[in-house]
Symmetry: C2
């Protein structure tokens, strides 16, 4: 079954969504079957792939390269509502060969309220919903919102590991402690959840960034830090603006090179051939 | 009394906290009395000014330039708890002459739960708490978290106006619609709340950024867009790393020039002499 990885960090704007888009695509280009889950009510991951809300109802639609429009009647919010039993597959749109997404919009806040209504069940809800579809994929990546509330908690509890995306700057580094504490608490519901490691993003060769990456590499011995740092690269937001992943937009860009290297590091560590 | 301004945006990492720090300081350097409220459980604004939690209890302490340590026994979370009646002044630490902060840490999440417990009261709570102290200040700036939940709602309802901090990139621009909708809903409790305007941050002279700033200037006729854009400037995170505002860290930097210009634009619009 799939490896499930939550992409998380309490600090906003560090590059969680950009990582879900491009690490997801890089793994897919290596031949893995990848599912992306948009667990952020902002719905940025959904927007980036050109998934649009249907005029009526709660589903989404997306035009493929071939001009054909794929459509769902439900979204991720529906699947995680406590009383919904039709499963996750109803919410999934194709992004390419072996590459899918379960899209979201701000109606996810409704599911948040009902999960918070019964926290014991809420914490385990996403794990329960993901279980039946794990066999169809190699990787399931979960894009988390910039909070440590129920949406991130239920995502971490559903995961095999948590990827810390981090800008090498004071506010983002300070956020790490809160996330580690939250993962510790999540172990009550998912004792096996691991920290995948720290991925530095929006990296620039300044004394500040070199200072933080250096000191973190020395101080968190027990946590893996990816060798690859994602450099600041304007091709990345430009790709989003063009409704493309970085490999479609500019395969020779620093962003494409960096995300491909991260995917290779990840796959090697997972010992997938 | 004071003009109260919420610094808000659902999108994470756009520069809300950086704006609270440096716009606050710039206004203070112009001679205005400024109070900063940290309404984000991450507590980045509190960290940036070197305010530390007391070993015991819920207050904070901070060492001034003169080496003297100022101390409080309560924090903002206490003041906004529904049953607390001692007021905001107990939570306030001095940052300089006519410059103060009400600090926060992740215990603010406790207040969030109790405000959500009774939303009708919760929405009006911060407005009620701020009212008695408005007479001591010219500006009260509220740093909001990257969500549109109760903490941002109660802040907007307590405010004279809302400053939209925005990175000229797809995800941030998309967040504007949600914020406008939330402000519309907040008018049920505060009919006079205005949109102060849009402040572009982390601006770089790329075709993407020029495209977004240009198209926004043309499309949102009814909303003011500040003439000044805050340019991407590594002095800003470096100042945070040195526990300084940008004027202390490097008064000749682009960050200092830009934030000073925004303060002037704001004060002129407010017709304060
Ligand atoms: N390596 C990079 N180089 C340049 N720009 C980047 C990079 N990574 C992300 N960005 C841009 O920075 C902004 C923040 O990134 P992103 O939205 O992916 O972060 P996030 O952590 O998902 O934010 P949120 O906390 O709001 O969910 C976006 O506009 C994105 O396009
Ligand atoms: N103009 C700028 N130039 C360079 N770096 C900046 C600029 N503005 C902010 N930053 C840096 O970008 C990061 C995000 O800024 P900041 O934390 O102020 O945003 P925020 O909107 O408050 O984030 P959150 O949504 O997490 O509250 C920080 O590391 C900050 O130091
Ligand atoms: Mg995101
Ligand atoms: Mg902030």
């Amino acid at each position: 079954g799939a490896k499930v990885m939550a992409i998380a960090q309490n600090k906003g704007g560090v590059g969680k969504t950009t990582t879900a888009i491009n690490l997801g695509k890089a793994l897919n280009l290596m031949g893995y079957k990848v599912l992306l889950l948009d667990m952020d009510p902002q719905g940025n991951l959904t927007q980036a792939f050109g998934c649009y809300r249907n005029e009526i109802g709660e589903g989404f639609h997306r035009e493929g390269k071939d001009g054909k429009i794929a459509r769902t009647e439900k979204q991720l919010m529906n699947a995680i509502m406590p009383e919904y039993n039709d499963g996750l597959l109803d919410t999934i749109l194709p992004l390419g060969d072996g590459f899918h997404i379960s899209p979201t919009d701000n109606r996810l806040d409704r599911a948040l309220l009902s999960l918070e209504g019964n926290p014991m069940k809420g914490y385990k809800r996403l794990r329960k919903v993901i279980e039946p579809v794990k066999k169809y994929f190699d990787y399931i990546l979960i894009d988390c919102p910039p909070t440590l509330g129920m949406l991130t908690s239920t995502s971490v509890i559903a995961s095999t590991s948590v990827l810390f995306v981090m800008q090498p700057e004071p506010f983002s580094v300070a956020g790490m402690e809160n996330l580690l504490e939250m993962i510790e608490n999540a172990r009550d519901y998912n004792p096996d959840v691991m920290v995948e490691g720290v991925l530095f993003t929006q990296y620039r060769k300044t004394k500040l960034h070199e200072g933080y990456t250096q000191s973190l590499r020395e101080s968190v011995g027990h946590i893996r830090i990816f060798d690859t740092a994602i450099r600041l690269n304007t091709d990345l937001p430009e790709a989003v603006d063009s409704l493309m992943d970085i490999f479609e937009y500019n395969p020779k860009s620093m962003g494409a090179v960096d995300y491909r290297n991260v995917a290779v590091e990840l796959a090697i560590a997972d010992n997938k051939d």
